[in-house]
Amino acid sequence: MRTALTILRKDLLLELRTLEMLPAMAMLAVITFVIFHFGLSRDTLSGQLAAGELTVTLLFSAMLGINRLFVAEREQGGFDAFLLAPVDRSAMLLAKATALYIYLALLELVALPAFALFAAPPHMGSSLPALILFLALSNGAFAVIGTFVSAIAVHTRARDLIGPMIGLPLLLPALIATSLGIGPLLTVHASGSPSGKWLAVLALYDLFTALLAYAVFDFLLEE
């Protein structure tokens, strides 16, 4: 845990210094909402259409972060430095997944107001706690799968392609559960209470992917 905190602190410090990921992720999200707004030519979106727009936009932005998650380790020798240290290698998984989770949460601080502005779904205010709950669980899947995929992709020349190619199919169950879960929250007759079924699916998928990533992550760091 202490090692993971050390790596996490270093990652957050690097992002704070360079601002390589977060501004780009946030800008892509806002631009995507603008494109949807004018492309669909509607003043307000609701139900599954709104849920789909939000999910897809967050996915696009998350992929930017996922692709860059290990770049500093690869380009500046962070992998070697870490592998030379007498530490548990799963600390890297924990640290990187937590960093990505934090980036996604910060992204959503910008993306949700932009979504409310450009998509103007009905009753978003009353559904906000449930919406945040879904996004918190969805971020878990993004963080774990993103870290796992990024660790694979960074060792390849075509890392920008490998990330989406492996990541998107793995993220599909979480994306479907998120979209179907938040759709009813963004309707005119929304009750504001989340669907237990989709929350459970997301939570179980988070757990499954976390265990899978933990089991194989050591091997991903090898040469």
């Binding site: 090692t3 210094r17 500093a72 020798g77």
Partner: protein, 236 residues
């Protein structure tokens, strides 16, 4: 766990390699290389560019797996027991392993935490390599020589028993070379494996020499046993 001894059987070998081979795809970089290095001694690995010197160092550092043969460091066989020797090995390679957007001090503190080394040691080493006054500057703003001094500090931060030095004095001017000498030179007390672009300088530093040619060990023996003609042939 296995232990190895030098040919005379007197000093335990800090590093023992037996018929080590390593390939990259179809290309054989190291072919059945064997040697033993007693604890506290220095081995100079000589040979032309691309002959496998850096690959050998990366295998010893546990960063690359050997494809055949056995590698034993400090009594532990690699790669199976690599975890047992990490933290007892210091690597000074071609890459500084420092984050460009962090300062020298921040980088060393990061490495110190990974190796469970007290922060006090960071300040000692910054002083030792003459970088205290520039310790808070981002690494990307430093000259190559300054980065190399920080890299030396990073490599010896955890007081490793085995030092793997890949052209350790590249980018260092004579004054800086003298500055880092107590940390990575003969008197540092560690078992050392070093490569150098200057074979004569490496021979002065070494007790033993491993000369690589075509991935094979062309010579392994005392540094005094290799003559100028052999060196010329090696680099021809």
């Amino acid at each position: 766990m296995s232990t190895a001894t030098d040919p005379a059987g007197a000093t335990p070998a800090a590093i023992a390699i037996d018929r080590l081979s390593r390939y990259f795809g179809e290309r054989t970089v190291l072919r059945e290389v064997s040697f033993e290095l007693p604890a506290g001694q220095t081995l100079a690995v000589l040979g032309r560019n691309g002959v496998g010197k850096s690959t050998l160092l990366r295998i010893l550092a546990t960063l690359l797996r050997p494809h055949s043969g056995t590698v034993t460091i400090l009594g532990e066989q690699l790669p199976q027991r690599g975890w047992a020797v990490r933290g007892r090995i210091g690597l000074l390679g071609h890459e500084p392993l420092l984050y460009r957007d962090l300062s020298g001090r921040e980088n060393l503190i990061y490495h110190a935490r990974l190796h469970r080394v007290p922060g006090q040691r960071v300040e000692q080493l910054l002083e030792a390599v003459g970088m205290s006054s520039r310790a808070d500057d981002p690494v990307r703003s430093l000259s190559r020589g300054m980065v190399q001094r920080l890299t030396v500090a990073r490599a010896v931060l955890h007081s490793p028993q085995v030092l793997l030095l890949d052209e350790p004095k590249s980018n260092l001017d004579p004054a800086a070379g003298e500055l880092v000498e107590p940390l990575i030179g003969r008197g540092c007390g560690a078992t050392r494996v070093l490569t150098s672009h200057d074979p004569q300088a490496a021979l002065v530093e070494a007790d033993l020499v491993l000369a690589l040619s075509g991935g094979r060990a062309a010579y392994f023996g005392p540094a005094s046993g290799i003559d100028a003609a052999q060196l010329r042939e090696l680099y021809a």
